[in-house]
């Protein structure tokens, strides 16, 4: 099966005041058709920057330095700004943002905003756009869609607005939806409802999804494939089943360990000590925080390598990590 999207060795840097921040530093990722792919990692690991690079909506200071983003056989980096606007953004790839309360323009009704997107990408008039928008609202389970159509964003709740943004993202039947932590800003019950509906919808319209989140629970629930990101690089990738049951990278293991749902804590909840900012110049980026690392990890740059068909890691000591995950003394300190 051909990949819908393939990111090869992507480097996106931010520059300012003479300093360079390597937000994405060699990321490889692929999404097949009708597949839900998770991208997980702690804050600042470059997840959103990957999403912004895909749509080329990076802030002024950021730029894609090298690497390829191949979408349906086209290199997105080579497209002109016009082609991006009319063919890709909103039409082929659309995006759902983290905070629903600020992702809509406060001065226009939600109806005006969704019809403007429909009219931009499809050759239809106001009336047709309105019926289509109300259909979409109904699909994402917005109650009383005709009335909601004329509401301003501040008149709706966070969950409602997130439904509106989901409807907007799906409005032009894209091939890929990037969901940038769409449930993070919502409370748990609403997030649960929206996840349920989202799962149904993506099954219904057959779209690929890149789901960015901190929440391993969400990944396990809706994703087929998971990518674990740390400091701008991918540490481990594989199907959700293999990665969750048999993590081979100590970072993935640490993430899973610190989540009470998967590992019943005895006493303190284990955490990964240290901070994301401690990155060595050479070798494994996770080394300063890794419980099993030694000098060997710093010798040379470590490539992402395949363990089997559906599993690859960026670590030279998978056996040690495996042993770590089986031992009682897991190497991560507990704090609370």
């Amino acid at each position: 099966m051909m990949n819908l999207l393939e990111i090869k060795d992507l480097h996106t840097y931010f520059e300012g005041n003479g300093a360079i921040v390597k937000a994405v530093d060699g990321a490889d990722l692929s999404i097949r058709e009708r597949e839900v792919v998770g991208l997980v990692g702690e804050s600042g690991s470059g997840k959103t920057t990957i999403a912004n690079s895909l749509l080329r909506i990076l802030p002024e200071t950021g730029r894609i330095v090298s690497g390829g983003i191949i979408f349906k056989g086209i290199n997105i980096r080579e497209l002109s700004e016009k082609e991006m606007q009319f063919k890709i953004r909103g039409n082929e790839i659309s995006m759902i943002f983290q905070d629903p309360m600020v992702s809509l323009n406060p001065l226009f009704t939600v109806g005006e905003q969704i019809t403007s997107v429909l009219k931009l990408h499809q050759d239809i008039g106001q009336k047709e756009a309105k019926t289509k928008a109300i259909d979409l609202f109904r699909k994402v389970r917005i109650s009383d869609p005709e009335k909601r159509f004329d509401n301003y964003p501040h008149e709706l709740s966070g969950g409602m607005i997130q439904r509106v943004t989901i409807a907007m993202a799906m409005s032009c039947e894209p091939s890929l939806i990037i969901a940038d932590e769409p449930t993070t800003a919502l409370d748990v019950t609403i997030a649960n409802q929206i996840l349920n509906e989202f799962e149904e919808l993506i099954g219904e319209i057959g779209v690929s999804v890149l789901w960015i989140t901190h929440d391993l629970g969400v990944i396990k629930r809706i994703c087929d494939y998971v990518n674990v990101m740390y400091a701008g690089t991918l540490m481990e990738q594989g199907t959700v089943k293999t990665v969750f049951e048999n993590p081979l990278h100590s970072y993935t293991f640490g993430l899973l360990r610190s989540n009470v749902i998967y590992y019943e804590p005895k006493g303190k909840i284990p955490t990964i000590m240290g901070e994301l900012s401690e990155i060595p110049h050479q070798g494994c980026k996770f080394y300063p925080r890794c419980p099993i690392g030694d000098e060997g990890c710093l010798q040379e740059s470590i490539e992402l390598r395949k363990i089997d068909e559906n599993h690859s890691i960026r670590c030279i000591k998978p056996e040690d990590a495996k042993r770590l995950s089986r031992s009682k003394n897991h190497g991560f300190q507990g704090v609370c």
Partner: protein, 296 residues
């Protein structure tokens, strides 16, 4: 009580005019009308504008007609505001002056408002070299005191009303550009702008359709205050002699004419001065009210 009735009548007629669907959009307009400051200001400026437009019909005499036999008559029944040295009716001249004041506001401030908004939008949205060029121009214009620069420009272009409009516009767009730029810089970081980009809207559409409605409010407030300032500047220039030239019935020019005659005919300078005062107060009140309503 009376005031409240007047407000609700106006807001009801707005509902009738624009239909029920757009009520929310006109909430702000209604709020502005309900605010006592801006309501009084709007009424004052409304009267001024009407007087200006219908000046030829309201004014009892031709403002340019000299009747030397009636020179320097004090206010009385035949001439409510008296006559000047050449026997021209002061009241007619003040009424015609209102139209000039309105024109100065609309043209001078209007050009500055549009140019300033566009320049500020470009430099705030794109930053980079466009921003550098526009902001350095703004800095160099604003390095000079307002009045001195306007006088200098008038000295180059030559005196006259038309040049006065443009001189004022050339100098005062800078403030708008700065206000708009700072709004754009903060507003474009908002997620809804990123969402609009992600959906595939063009830059033009994002600037005019999404950012401008969200950042225009402070410039509207500034414009109404600027009108008051511009009226004063225009009057000062005409008073000094580089603005409107006699016999044009501009208020500042009239004050200049009446200045030497203050001891024999106080009314010649006083009534146009009251006109200026009335206009400035009117615009200031609107500005105050708008600021209360539009700025958080």
């Amino acid at each position: 009580m009376n005031n409240r009735n007047a407000g609700s009548v106006i807001s009801r007629s707005i509902n009738l005019l624009f239909g029920d669907e757009n009520i929310a959009r006109w909430e702000t307009v209604k709020k502005i009308i309900r605010n006592p400051n801006s309501r009084i200001g709007l009424i004052m400026i409304g009267i001024l504008t009407l007087v200006g437009i219908f000046a030829p019909f309201i004014a009892p005499y031709d403002p340019y007609q000299q009747v030397l036999t009636e020179s320097l008559e004090p206010p009385g029944l035949s001439h409510l505001f008296g006559t000047d040295l050449y026997g021209r009716d002061v009241m007619s001249r003040v009424i015609h002056g209102a139209w000039i004041a309105v024109k100065i506001c609309v043209i001078g401030v209007g050009i500055a408002f549009i140019v300033g908004n566009l320049a500020g939008a470009l430099s705030g949205y794109y930053e980079g070299w466009i921003d550098t060029i526009i902001m350095r121009i703004v800095d160099s214009i604003m390095a000079f005191p307002f009045l001195v620069l306007v006088i200098a420009i008038m000295a180059i272009f030559g005196p006259g009303l038309k040049n006065l409009y443009f001189a004022i516009a050339i100098v005062s767009w800078c403030q708008y550009a700065r206000i708009v730029r700072s709004r754009y810089l903060s507003e474009k970081e908002e997620d809804y702008v990123r969402a609009a980009e992600a959906v595939g809207f063009s830059d033009k559409r994002i600037i005019f359709g999404h950012l401008m409605p969200n950042s225009i409010a402070p410039t509207i407030v500034y414009a109404s205050l600027d009108c008051a300032l511009v009226i004063l500047v225009a009057a000062s220039l005409s008073f000094v002699g580089v603005g409107a030239q006699p016999p044009i019935p501009e208020w500042g020019a009239q004050i200049a004419e009446g200045r030497q005659l203050l001891q024999v005919g106080w009314w010649i300078a006083t009534f146009p001065a009251l006109g200026i005062m009335y206009t400035v107060i009117g615009f200031s009140l609107i500005g105050d009210g708008l600021r209360d309503m539009l700025e958080k």
